[in-house]
Amino acid sequence: MSVRLFFLYLLVMSLVTYLVRAVPFLLFRGKIKSRFFRSFLYYIPYSVLSAMTFPAILSATGSLLSAWIGFITALILAFMDKGLIKVAAYSSAVVLAVDLLIRLF
């Protein structure tokens, strides 16, 4: 990718991201009235993050096996309410261990 193309992507990306944040911040004083729209926005983070995670997580590591084990580790730890950092760190460590074992045997 050329440097020029990179900067065009960067411009589009950062401008949209900025406007999405700043415009409502500047405009909104009152409360949103539409219950449907408020509900829709309430569910957005969860639907976005889950769609981004699965099934993409299965190809995020060195092998399908380590990805599944890392995924299940993360699910269990998150279910137990361990924080973001612990869930991320332990699932990475498990993936590393599994991939090292696969390489050894």
Binding site: Y9, L26, F36, V48, F54, G70
Partner: protein, 251 residues
């Protein structure tokens, strides 16, 4: 809290300013540490996707998003269109609009106009969550100092990851590749466990995501648009079937 309120009335302007500065920095430290770790992964992914370290670092300092940047990176590396980039950033980051709207009700009277335009740049999930849970109106000074360290660490972590990503062995970098997903899972699972509607939205979104990923007729759909489709359908279904109560939940 009662005591706090009494103290607040007797604070002079400069004392209040110093307190906002001190508490802003204090409250930001855990966010900053977390950001360093996650952005390190982003830096690694940037160099895995063929970007120069300064390019990946520029993405972080101009965007300060997690999901949005990862989505943007995959669009860059697959040479997606600018429309796809714009629409993906819009949908993936749409939640910030809700946070901005929510925080616009909580900031003090001096936090307006140009200050909103400037500081709105720093509206992230974690900075919002901390500011929104503060037990008094959010001042410009507090919000600025709350944002400072996390954004610095987000940028620095990206740079370290992008530079070290080339040096670290592949088996280590690929195992870090799961850490961002781990973080997403840690955000989604606890509320999904507590609230059945959230669980339903999550399951629906994952089901559509799998369909788009594995369905032979959907192979033309890029990953960016796939996220948009999943998010819009699942959230709309959630909003229709399980409208949130009048207070609007905590998102």
């Amino acid at each position: 809290m009662g005591k706090e309120k009494i103290k607040e009335r007797s604070l002079s302007a400069s004392e209040a300013a110093r307190r906002d500065q001190r508490e802003g920095i204090q409250d930001s430290i855990p966010i900053a540490l977390g950001y360093f770790a996650v952005s390190f992964t982003f830096g690694i992914m940037g160099s895995l996707n063929g970007l120069a370290w300064w390019e990946t670092t520029l993405i972080s300092v101009t965007n300060v998003t997690s999901a949005g940047q990862f989505a943007g990176l995959s669009i860059m590396s697959s040479m997606g269109s600018f429309i796809e980039m714009a629409m993906t950033q819009f949908v993936v980051n749409l939640r910030y609009s809700l946070m901005s709207i929510s925080l616009s009700q909580k900031v003090d009277e001096k936090f307006r106009g140009i200050w909103r335009a400037l500081l709105g740049f720093f509206m992230t999930d974690e900075i919002f969550a901390v500011a929104a849970s503060k037990d008094r109106p959010v001042t410009r000074r507090y919000f600025a100092f709350l944002s400072l360290l996390p954004v610095a660490c987000w940028t620095l972590g990206t740079m370290c990851g992008a530079i070290l990503g080339d040096i670290l062995p592949a088996i280590v970098t690929t195992s870090l590749g799961i850490s961002l997903y781990g973080m997403f899972i840690a955000i989604v699972v606890p509320p999904a466990r507590e609230h059945k509607p959230v669980l339903m939205v999550v399951l629906l979104s994952v089901a559509i995501s799998c369909l788009l990923h594995y369905g032979p007729m959907f192979q033309q759909v890029s990953s960016g648009f796939a996220v948009i489709i999943c998010a819009v359908i699942a959230s709309a279904a959630g909003a229709l079937l399980f409208p949130v109560p009048e207070e609007g939940g905590e998102a």
